[in-house]
Symmetry: C2
Subunit: 148 residues, 2 copies
Amino acid sequence: MDDTDRTLVGLLLQDATRSYAALGDAVGLSAGAAHERVRKLRAGGVIRRTTVDVDPAALGQGVLAFVLVDSSAWMGDSAEAFAAVPEIQEAHVIAGSASVLVKVRTSTTERLQDVLRRLYDIPGVSGTQATVVLETFFERPPDPHSPA
Amino acid sequence: MDDTDRTLVGLLLQDATRSYAALGDAVGLSAGAAHERVRKLRAGGVIRRTTVDVDPAALGQGVLAFVLVDSSAWMGDSAEAFAAVPEIQEAHVIAGSASVLVKVRTSTTERLQDVLRRLYDIPGVSGTQATVVLETFFERPPDPHSPA
DNA sequence: CTTGAAAGTCGCTCCGG
DNA sequence: CCGGAGCGACTTTCAAG
């Protein structure tokens, strides 16, 4: 994982339809060498898959909310229970007063309420605290060049 | 946007390298018809771009945190200020006691602390409250078939 | 919407250096 | 790592039903 690899990842994040010839040009390598590097990035799990960036609003999911889930029991094995709710896009176990933080997308706030209700069906869930997003400034992929 | 379109989007979310012939087979259409539908989904902004799914940990960004940002002023025009911090992956204006919620990825908690310090450099920011993620259950794209 | 065909591009793999 | 050569597959567009 040198800086050339990071640049390749950055280019693919912007547009994964680039040809290997174009990738090579951008980093000063031949198409074959660029191809080999990308192949290794995929094999090594850095690049998981080629996918598509979808506008949630265009799919009718214009409401975004983050929900803090309180629990009265250990939630470390509840991943599938959260995954079973299709409106939940992310679920994280967190440090702090709450136990789990989930990111939810729905069409309306009524639907959001419905998701909250379903959260209570998950064993151990004792409470929820929803925060509705008014405006999303941006959502972007990780920066491969981030100093971090 | 009928159900066939949603299925096409779902297939492309899983693997955007699928050929139009394979897409057509999956939904019972010819390759040409599938191609035309996907073209329209792109033109209509439903599909924004073809990209790549990257493992943040493989990029050295193993620490994930959500930060509630309190403010003493209107933050509606501060999108660029947040975007200028590369470790910030998402920034949302929220309803509730805090003003902005940001999602941050760094290599270490020390780096996270550094990001928090930079947040205070943004005009209007009066406080932060960071929640560190202990384990991510899952992160996935929106479900195009979600009843929403 | 279908089938079929054409032309161009690219993926992918091989080689020799 | 480079350059080039080669084959197969895919994209993209078109016509005609």
